[in-house]
């Protein structure tokens, strides 16, 4: 039985029934659900982190998902990439992701892009959505997304993990530090392969989606200008206050800021 108070006719009976339990969240409500339905999100890679991000966004009823991820499903993906399955080994990852998400929620639009984010495609991918979830394992992709988001003034939820730790911040271009403020030089020490449990990726992924829902529906307190660092080894959370770099090569108003 649907007990929510109706506001307009944007949500069908079926959608109201599907999302009823989250609509009970008083700061979100039916208005929040409508905003989510009208919103679109890019998820950069649907791997260990991006899979649960896309899953939670789809379950919550975001209007449109754009998923960017190249390559085929491998055995070594399966401990954490929850949208990949054994029966899809050797086939394109993004197809597996789209298939699984449509099973979960057939009401939303999903576009699968069989390539990773690059400097060449970042702008056109970011241009078509309202919010971006950065879940890529390489800083080249993260910096490409950051540049495009700053230029297009799109919110960027930057999530990352390593070992039993995770990091998360919400970048609001023009208001908060951007990724290039946080890492003013390219992190040469980061290596492509890293220790990872799916559960650790899943924690930061779901925190990231909480941030995204708050940005889109307009409630709560964001990790804007704040980096959340969590440590699943001892279950400790730490919040670090970030600073904008007045000479940032991407977002500053100075002549250095190419996107300002």
């Amino acid at each position: 039985m649907i007990v929510v108070k109706r506001i307009g006719m944007a949500l069908t009976e079926e959608k109201l029934a599907t999302y009823e339990w989250q609509i009970w969240e008083k700061d979100f409500g039916e208005e929040g659900q409508k905003k989510l339905k009208e919103a679109s999100a890019l998820v950069s890679r649907v791997g260990g982190l991006g899979s649960p991000v896309a899953y939670a966004l789809a379950a919550a009823g975001i209007g449109k998902l754009v998923l960017a991820h190249g390559g085929e499903v491998k055995y070594s993906d399966l401990n954490r990439q929850i949208l990949m399955t054994h029966d899809w080994l050797g086939k394109p990852r993004v197809e597996s992701a789209v298939r699984r998400l449509k099973e979960l929620n057939p009401r939303i639009d999903i576009e699968g892009i069989p390539e990773n984010v690059t400097e060449k495609n970042a702008f056109s991918l970011v241009e078509r959505v309202d919010i971006v979830f950065d879940c890529a394992p390489l800083f080249q992709e993260r910096f490409a997304l950051n540049r495009a988001c700053v230029r297009l003034r799109k919110p960027l939820i930057d999530a990352a993990m390593y070992s039993m730790e995770g990091r998360l911040t919400t970048i609001l271009p023009g208001k908060t530090p951007c990724l290039a403020c946080i890492y003013p030089e390219f992190p040469e020490t980061w290596k492509r392969e890293f220790p990872v449990f799916g559960a650790v990726s899943g924690i930061v992924a779901n925190l990231a989606v909480c941030e995204g829902i708050k940005v889109l529906a307009g409630f709560g307190t964001l990790l804007a200008g704040t980096m959340l660092q969590y440590d699943a080894r001892n279950m400790e959370f730490r919040k670090l206050k970030l600073k904008r770099n007045k000479n940032c090569s991407i977002c500053s108003d100075s002549p250095n800021g190419i996107c300002a």
Binding site: I182, Y183, E185, T189, W190, F194, L240
Partner: protein, 92 residues
């Protein structure tokens, strides 16, 4: 005076510690401490924390009492400060 170092990411792996206390003189900056840690833990830590020129990498986040600091800052640390060392991570 005594300060506390909190290690994250690869810095935790290479130090073998989540945190430790360090005795320092009252005139040290965060960058001075990074140079000392690089020396204390050897080549791999030095590579992680320092550039080829021997200066702190700007891709390593440094935070004093949960506020990020510029490694170029000459601000000195105080007794009981907590210096968090967070090398860049991008796991997905």
């Amino acid at each position: 005076m005594r300060i506390r170092i909190a290690y994250y990411g690869q810095a935790r792996l290479l130090s073998g510690k989540e945190e430790e206390f360090l005795e320092v003189t009252p005139d040290v900056s965060a960058a001075d401490v990074i140079l000392r840690l690089a020396e204390k833990y050897g080549d791999k830590m030095s590579w992680l924390l320092l550039t080829e020129e021997g200066t702190p990498r700007r891709s390593v986040i440094l935070a004093v009492n949960d506020e990020t600091v510029d490694p170029d800052s000459s601000d000195v640390l105080s007794e009981n400060d907590v210096l968090a060392v967070l090398p860049a991570v991008s796991g997905g």
